[in-house]
């Protein structure tokens, strides 16, 4: 079991993601520079958060055109696991591995705070061991996390149970006041058609350690890890 964290110029959660996999989960992890063309045999690819190319033009737009993305696409197409967090989610949408786009937050301001997420399905490698209905508390830190897609795609996402996380209140109910960035249908995380690619705005890697006061994020990587281990066994 190996992981790779892809680094673009301007990425600033690359080392957080690296530590998440390597220090907290003891997964052998490599950093992969955006100009490279393979992923060093990784089973799990993480596209980290944080301002690739300064978020200039559109968040994730320039990163999506980097050479390394061909390898990421190939990895995803062959069923490999990919998690895009925050800017990584934006990149996955830009490159077409996930549907939709992330618009400016509805209040226009950058938002850094904790949010509550409800896990909507356990049918994915990232949630199998989280459990449907589980409420997680995770931090967000983004300017453009307002998920949008056309009505047809939205219906399809709903029908195919590809909405993995929704913003909810602490009791686990969808409520516009708690959908802080104004996302369509309170969507915080979506899965690809093959369910092997996950994009999410909140940062599980920032909430996986007791010393930081919150370990809710660990469940997502733990689930992915267990799934991969089961597949390898």
């Amino acid at each position: 079991m190996k992981a790779a964290v892809v680094e673009f110029p301007g990425s600033n959660c690359d080392h957080d993601a690296f530590e998440w996999a390597s220090r907290l989960f003891h997964i052998p992890t490599e950093l992969v520079w955006h100009t490279e063309t393979h992923l060093k045999g990784a089973d799990l690819v993480i596209l980290p958060g944080g301002f690739s190319y300064g978020d200039y033009l559109r968040c994730g737009a320039m990163a999506a055109r980097a050479p390394v993305m061909d390898a990421v696409i190939e990895h995803a197409k062959s069923g490999g696991l990919v998690i895009g967090i925050c800017n990584g989610f934006q990149i996955l949408c830009e490159v077409g591995l996930l549907p939709g786009a992330l618009l400016r937050n509805q209040g226009l301001a950058f938002l850094c705070q904790d949010v509550y997420l409800r896990c909507e399905t356990s049918k994915s490698p990232f949630s199998r061991h989280v459990g449907k209905g589980t409420v997680l508390r995770l931090p967000i830190a983004h300017h453009d996390g307002n998920y949008f897609t056309d009505p047809k795609t939205l219906k399809r996402l709903q029908r195919e149970e590809r909405i993995l996380f929704r913003y909810v209140n602490p009791n686990g109910d969808v409520n516009e006041a708690w959908n802080v960035n104004g996302s369509l249908d309170a969507i915080a995380g979506v899965l690809s058609e093959g369910r092997n690619v996950l994009g999410m705005m909140p940062h599980p890697e920032r909430a996986s350690e007791a010393v930081l006061g919150n370990e809710d994020g660990a469940a997502i990587l733990r689930s992915a890890l267990k799934t991969l281990e089961a597949a390898h066994a």
């Binding site: 110029p9 301007g10 600033n12 959660c13 080392h15 957080d16 530590e19 998440w20 958060g49 944080g50 301002f51 190319y53 300064g54 978020d55 200039y56 209040g107 301001a109 950058f110 938002l111 850094c112 705070q113 904790d114 931090p139 830190a141 300017h143 940062h203 890697e205 920032r206 350690e209 010393v211 930081l212 006061g213």
Partner: protein, 741 residues
């Protein structure tokens, strides 16, 4: 090249005084060229050479076993043990932020980040101190929105968490807001880099953004008063480019791992000029620059413009010769250009060439070390004694403490800062153990069990009423906040914001502040390791209150012992540590409720303060307490309420106080120094009280944590009984009244 003739009149219009101009002519032995005049005008400006403050700054204690680098470099460095060190500094970006709040604040953050990574440290935490005019002033909301977005967007993009700070409102800042930015970085204590140009023949590299006509004379602008005219006559505003900053940061830190860099400095105020002259001055060397090699963003820049440009995100690096390819390829990896623009010489001169012509040839020491320094006249403020006197008999006691408390909790100075810090990424880098909202921010140091605790403080009202005592309080409060988290205060950086130093009353405020800061830092054993002075915060002759922002860094050896500020556990006992004398002078209560700004700041007794802070740290390290919160602006009632308003904890409290001989407002809202609130398990109250007594600190059981109401009884009478939710919404909506939304 056609250049203006250099005359005394031109020199004066460049901000030099007649006397400085005479000195210059005499020492140089000739009339400077136009380019050279430009160099003198910035290097001898207040902003660059600290001419009004230098003699006074010498009074600071700057040494101690923990100090690895004191003032004089780009930032100070402090040892935190086991081979690790922290590097930090604070800087003002006041004038640019008033002119263009978003870009001014953003580039302020950019500048301080460069000062810190220049030293070889990886920036891990930012703080910001913001002072705005009256909430009712028509410019305040837009300035606030712009500044906060600017601070946030820049730090967020670079990926350095903004973990704390201060926001203060007062009409004295109506025409001169303050934006003070602080960065702390982490480094190995044997890998400190300095801004020194040594090694004859070594190459001088220019890296980062190209040079445009940005901010020419920014340094001189920061050295003069504002007037309506100067609001019109603006230089090209610098635009921040955090993406390039991030790449510069990574590239420089990566290059520092190889043994290539001899000296490095960012191009801040006065750009290429100050960086090259200062680096040569520190090394006692000379420097040769070829301006033809300077990368330009637009055509036709003159040598004068190239030397004075304040384009952002640029660094000057002296690299050992023979490593040219290493330097180039490393920056290329990050999509940045590195251009060789000169070399180190042993001439003691800066020789600057352009198109085959020598456009400047100046002795480095004349420009840097011999810059003017003044001991300007100081005169006690006319109303000083009168305003220290407070006659409480003219002020009615509060009749409805509940109403008064709500008024204070929703007031702009005491309400929640969440509107601000929600726009700042404070969790990136996964080190934030306690972020904004806590007394001190706590940032763990990965790879160790340590954490640093940070607090930024100043109470300008105290400083206006008594600059000496106010300065002492700034240091004491910052240290107390840090001690509340369980950390040992190590050292401070300051940002000294004042009016026009040519006015004796301003100079008096400045000198008294320096004395107060110096005494406080000596008492608390927290030397000053870096800092910044911003004078001329005046508009149409109206100056700001003396505002010495203090940022304190402290060390927690074992991060698992860090203590939060808010109540954690239902049933816990609440103890007040320290003595309540009911001091109302200079208080937030008098200002917010009675619009009175009078009286002396609370007396500060060093023995008591030090004993309290040691007690706080001991309680923390022994794991006896669940929370510690400093009791300062707003007094005891406000501090109690704040303990209930944590991001994550939602606990009420029932407190029972004794008025003794005090008025109610004295008891509830007096701001006696050297106090803190502790919460602990009820069964260890007695050991905690005993421990406090041994330390000579009064400890009083004042209440019990729990429930969803905030209750205060005085002498058995229930005076406050509020739903915590109501308290919270009042407190959280305070800033929205200013900025909307």
């Amino acid at each position: 090249m056609h250049e203006p003739e250099v005359t005394e009149a031109l020199a004066l219009s460049h901000g030099l005084s007649a006397e400085e101009w005479r000195t210059l002519l005499e020492r140089l032995g000739r009339t400077p060229s136009f380019t050279e005049l430009g160099i003198f005008s910035v290097m001898w400006s207040e902003h660059c050479c600290y001419k009004s403050s230098r003699v006074h700054l010498k009074k600071f204690p700057t040494q101690g076993p923990q100090v690895l680098q004191g003032p004089g470099e780009n930032a100070g460095v402090v040892d935190i043990g086991d081979g690790w060190a922290v590097c930090f500094k604070m800087e003002s970006h006041n004038h640019p932020s008033y002119i263009e709040p978003y870009q001014g604040a953003a580039t302020g953050v950019g500048g301080i980040l460069r000062d810190v990574f220049t030293m070889g440290a990886r920036p891990v935490a930012n703080l910001n101190g913001l002072h705005f005019g009256s909430p009712n002033h028509p410019k305040t909301p837009a300035l606030m929105r712009g500044v906060v977005a600017g601070v946030g967007d820049y730090g967020n993009c670079v990926g350095v968490p903004t973990v704390g700070g201060q926001v203060f409102f007062h009409p004295c800042y109506d025409g001169n807001i303050l934006v003070n930015a602080f960065t702390l970085g982490v480094l190995r204590s044997d890998r400190i880099f300095r801004g020194s140009a040594s090694g004859v023949g070594n190459t001088v590299w220019y890296v980062g953004n190209k040079t445009g006509r940005d901010g020419i004379h920014g340094a001189t602008m920061a050295s003069a008063e504002f007037s309506e005219a100067s609001e019109e006559k603006r230089p090209t505003v610098q635009v921040g480019d955090p993406f390039t900053e991030k790449r510069l940061l990574e590239a420089c830190l990566e290059l520092m791992e190889k043994d290539v860099i001899v000296g490095i400095q960012d191009m801040g105020a006065a750009g290429l000029t100050s960086s090259s002259f200062e680096m040569a001055a520190r090394a006692g060397s000379g420097i040769r620059l070829d301006l033809d090699a300077v990368p330009l963003r637009e055509e036709g820049l003159t040598p004068y413009e190239m030397l004075l440009s304040e384009s952002q995100e640029r660094m000057l690096i002296v690299a050992a010769s023979g490593h040219e390819e290493d330097v180039k390829s490393l920056f290329a990896k990050w999509g940045l250009e590195a251009s060789p623009v000169g070399s180190v010489t042993d001439s003691g001169r800066a020789e600057i060439f352009w198109k085959g012509e020598k456009v400047a040839d100046l002795p480095v020491d004349l420009v840097v070390d011999d810059a003017p320094a003044y001991d300007r006249p100081a005169l006690e403020r006319r109303d000083f004694k009168e305003r220290l006197h407070l006659d409480l008999s003219t002020i009615p006691d509060c009749r409805d403490p509940e109403e008064t408390l709500l008024q204070l909790m929703g007031s702009v100075d005491l309400c929640s800062r969440r509107w601000v810090y929600r726009q700042y990424d404070h969790t990136v880098r996964t080190n934030t153990v306690a972020g904004p909202g806590s007394d001190a921010a706590i940032v763990r140091i990965k790879g160790t069990s340590k954490a640093v605790a940070l607090s930024l403080d100043v109470n300008p009202r105290y400083c206006r009423l008594d600059p000496y005592e106010g300065a002492k309080h700034a240091v004491a409060e910052a240290a107390r906040n840090v001690s509340c988290s369980g950390a040992l205060p190590l050292a401070v950086t300051d940002c000294l914001n004042y009016g026009n130093p040519e006015k004796p009353e301003v100079m008096w405020e400045f000198r008294r502040s320096i004395e107060g800061l110096s005494d406080a830092c000596r008492e608390l054993d927290t030397p000053v390791v870096s800092g910044n002075v911003s004078f001329y915060n005046e508009t149409n002759s109206e100056g700001i209150y003396p505002t010495p922002s203090i940022a304190m860094a402290g060390l927690i050896e074992d991060v698992s012992k860090a203590v939060p500020s808010h109540f954690q556990q239902k049933g816990d006992a609440v103890l007040l540590l320290g003595r309540t004398d009911g001091h109302l002078g200079a208080s937030e209560y008098l200002w917010a409720v009675h619009a009175v700004e009078k009286g002396a700041p609370p007396p500060l007794d060093w023995d008591r303060e030090k004993a309290l802070q040691k007690l706080l740290r001991d309680l923390a390290s022994e794991g006896k307490v669940h929370s510690l919160h400093d009791c300062s602006d707003g007094g005891l009632a406000v501090a109690l309420a704040e303990c209930c308003l944590g991001e994550r904890s939602r606990l009420g409290v029932t407190a029972s106080l004794q008025a003794r001989s005090h008025r109610l407002d004295e008891l509830l809202f007096g701001e006696d120094a050297s106090r803190a609130l502790a919460s602990c398990s009820p069964d260890i109250v007695q050991p905690v009280v005993n421990k406090a007594r041994e330390a000579g600190i009064e400890a009083t059981l004042v209440g019990t944590v729990g429930g969803d109401r905030f209750v205060v009884n005085v002498d058995g009478q229930r005076l406050v009984d509020l739903d915590v939710g109501r308290l919270r919404s009042t407190w959280e909506n305070g800033l929205k009244r200013v900025v909307g939304g």
